[in-house]
Subunit: 266 residues, 2 copies
Amino acid sequence: LGQLILVGLGLNDDAGISLCGLQEVKNADNVFIELYTNLMPDFSAKRLEDAARRELTTVTRKQLEEENGQIILQAARNGRTVLLVPGDPLIATTHVNLRIEAKKHGIQTRVVHGASIISAAIGLSGLHNYKFGRTVTIPFPDQNPSETPYTAILQNKQQGLHTLCLLDINAEQQRYLTVRDALAALQNTETRRKQGIIVPDTLIVGVSRAGSDNPTVKAAMLKDAFNLDFGGPPQTLIFPGRLHFTEADALITLADAPKDLRKIAE
Amino acid sequence: LGQLILVGLGLNDDAGISLCGLQEVKNADNVFIELYTNLMPDFSAKRLEDAARRELTTVTRKQLEEENGQIILQAARNGRTVLLVPGDPLIATTHVNLRIEAKKHGIQTRVVHGASIISAAIGLSGLHNYKFGRTVTIPFPDQNPSETPYTAILQNKQQGLHTLCLLDINAEQQRYLTVRDALAALQNTETRRKQGIIVPDTLIVGVSRAGSDNPTVKAAMLKDAFNLDFGGPPQTLIFPGRLHFTEADALITLADAPKDLRKIAE
């Protein structure tokens, strides 16, 4: 009887939802929305409410995580219930957990996918998707310092692979880790680990506001990267591994990389 | 003056496009569409034309690859031009190449993202995104046999990482590699490479028709996987690495994995 439909909002604003996702909102008995797992800088709940002619009920991190989404599950037991989430649902483990809980309560679940920062950032960089190793999140160094990102970049580089680094966000505090602070944190780890992967000549690619009308995509050597202006959040950081010459070409043409990059490409 | 806007169609059907993408189609002077880089089984060009009140011009693989998209670039030099593509643009290198060509011709480019099989398949599996190693495409064994997929699965497994395997498609011949044929090809490689990664007790997850109303997501041991019915294409195959217990739980609850999976999880 009950049904829970997870609908991805895509990136950046309220027009990132698919036609199919909007239809689900219109058809639902209850519509919840969470906006803390990712930042959508130009999102207006009001505009989406107007487009769907429905009211949206915002759920907090506490309601979704500490209270295991009870408010949503209760609604879903009694009717068609939509949860709107930034990006593509199920990339955040919170949404997978909610789906498992729903299934265990006998509630049918469905997913309407949306654009994700994962494929968007990879695509905007011009680097080849199949050459990315594992993705890692760089946490705020003052809240949750970790050497995991350094290790992931190192292991990927050893195989010639690129690393996509998502940068931590804390929506409640409106704090968003920047490319600059992420690089500083990694330099700090380099002084301890000394593997020579975060050095002045390390190539980096920064991507900010993917999905907006004015995303910034810039490639530079680390020593020059601190002077780049990536504008507002959200930001993402990529460490390229070995470059195919078409990838070097893409970085030079699309991301203002230094032209001598062609020399180190294969 | 000229402008090229790459718009992602998302997954499965004509309602996978974002509100923003549809608006770009409405505002464009010229609208092209390519449907050969990915299969969208329930897509209707007619329905999209009706929704946008615009005619779509289909471009072929030959026009986009052998002729370097000249027909699109020519249109984009003289007006606002949209190219509609399945999934998220720029995941296919063809679209990156077109973007580079456009930039070199002084044509402004923009991207409207769409849902991608990459995040959709990972999400539907319930496995953790940050535990996926590099993605690989399994080619048709009779057209382009390759040991690269085997090597990628092996290298990922050695690090405890999952592997997402995209399965080859040939839209012109309407051929789509199935989970079953992909497994058979990998078994074949196993007889030569003998690393013990494609054996009867290897856990696999198959995902078909991601983005549709009835995706199939099933986890099983290889020896049982040949009896599973994944229905029609497109299909995707995942080889899990080490499993966190919440991932085992997800596979059991959401993908009918055998219950004793919990024993091998961490």
